[in-house]
């Protein structure tokens, strides 16, 4: 199809990194297209300088929402240019062939393949974490990996407990050996942090920032149970290993990679996104 046969061409632009600005550039796709229905859309890459490949989890989540709710269809422009400049998108499963397989093999072994899971598919998710993420060459094979698996299990369990959605959970990672970093992103399209916590605290917690901090401290919305320890464990793990942990929910981008621990206001998208940036060099038990 030529460009003229599409209803809309959306050009990704500039540097899209694991940072509030990158989150904005991707969710802007949603805000631009959410008021339209059943459009045939071409995604352009000619103006894109850089994309952190782990953000394919967020990008796929945005496209999923626009596809299932708005009936849009998406195609990638200029496959040859993508193969030349953004081949990672063809290796990590974001751009697939007609048989739904990655177009290129991940010879560099830098990708943690884009995948999605129903919120109750804990076995499949943990197999992915064990084999695709922790089985990655960036992680040395040691007992540390077991601890990390536990933390990811906690994170996934939090989604099943709190997100209140049957929509998929999206996950993707990318290893950057020169920076000794592996960036991993998980996205759910649930209700976000504030709604259940506002209700539980009877209006005492009224902002996303307060809700995130309340959850990180180990509080819970369950009146008949204890809870909420898992998220704190994962945050503590990242912090203790000089990694970064970001949570984005509602109008708040929160984390310890924004200079000092803090938050930024953003335009609210659906659900919750978590970025884990592992400092591979400093990982210790």
């Amino acid at each position: 199809m030529s460009e003229y046969q599409y209803d809309f061409i959306y050009h990704l632009k500039g540097n899209i990194t694991t940072h509030p600005s990158g989150y904005k550039r991707i969710t802007d796709i949603y805000f631009t297209l959410k008021d339209f229905k059943n459009k045939n859309i071409l995604i352009g890459f000619k103006d894109l300088v850089w994309l952190d490949a782990n953000l394919c989890a967020l990008l796929d989540a945005v496209l999923f929402e626009l596809t299932t709710v708005n009936g849009h269809t998406f195609h990638a422009a200029d496959p040859e240019m993508i193969e030349k400049n953004f081949a990672v998108l063809m290796r990590n499963g974001f751009i697939l062939d007609s048989d739904s397989n990655p177009i290129m093999h991940d010879d560099n072994k830098s990708c943690v393949r884009l995948n999605k899971f129903a919120p109750n598919e804990d076995v499949a998710f943990l197999n992915y974490i064990t084999k695709d993420l922790l089985g990655h060459s960036a992680f040395s094979k040691n007992s540390l990996n077991w601890q990390l698996t536990e933390h990811f299990a906690e994170l996934f369990a939090n989604i099943e407990t709190h997100a209140r959605t049957i929509k998929p959970v999206f996950a993707c990672g990318q290893y950057y050996p020169k920076q000794n970093e592996l960036k991993f992103t998980i996205v759910d399209l649930g209700v976000g942090f504030l709604e259940p916590i506002y209700s539980h605290t009877k209006g005492e917690i009224t902002s996303y920032e307060e809700a995130i901090e309340w959850a990180i401290k180990g509080n819970t919305t369950k009146t008949s149970e204890t809870g909420g320890i898992g998220l704190k464990s994962l945050y503590d793990y990242c912090s203790n290993n000089r990694g970064y942990f970001n949570i984005i929910s509602g109008d708040t981008y929160w984390g310890n990679s924004l200079g000092e621990l803090g938050s930024r206001k953003i335009k609210p998208f659906i659900g919750t996104t978590v970025h884990l940036i592992f400092n591979i060099k400093n990982i210790k038990v």
Binding site: D122, A153, A157, E160, S224, T226, G227, I229, S233
Partner: protein, 110 residues
């Protein structure tokens, strides 16, 4: 003996919904016997969400049953730590709720 792995059909006890299944199995078992053991054998992973929905819920809804429940075969140190953490938090919550109730009764009677 209740084997968690048999109740949930997996070697990973992750989900809140699976914890609820185990909670129900424990309560049901106590209707037939005064002595019930909960076995963690074969489990590779156990999350706090799962433990909250099973043991935490049991402590808060019926602490006397929890006090009679035997927990066995949790050799994995991380599972042991999480059990301690969850049961400690739940027990504290029960104490706080009991204290709040006692205060309420006191002021109502005053």
């Amino acid at each position: 003996m209740i084997r968690i792995k048999e109740i949930i059909g997996k070697s990973s006890a992750v989900l809140h919904s699976d914890g609820v299944k185990v909670y129900s199995a424990i309560v049901d078992a106590f209707t037939r016997s005064n002595k019930v053991e909960l076995s963690f054998d074969g489990l590779e992973i156990c999350t706090t969400s799962f433990l909250n929905a099973s043991l935490g819920k049991l402590i808060i809804s019926n602490k006397s049953l929890f006090d009679k429940l035997g927990l066995v075969n949790f050799d994995h140190s991380m599972i042991n730590e999480k059990i301690q953490l969850v049961t400690s938090k739940a027990t504290d919550k029960v104490r706080r709720d009991d204290y709040d109730e006692t205060l309420r009764e006191y002021y109502q009677g005053a």
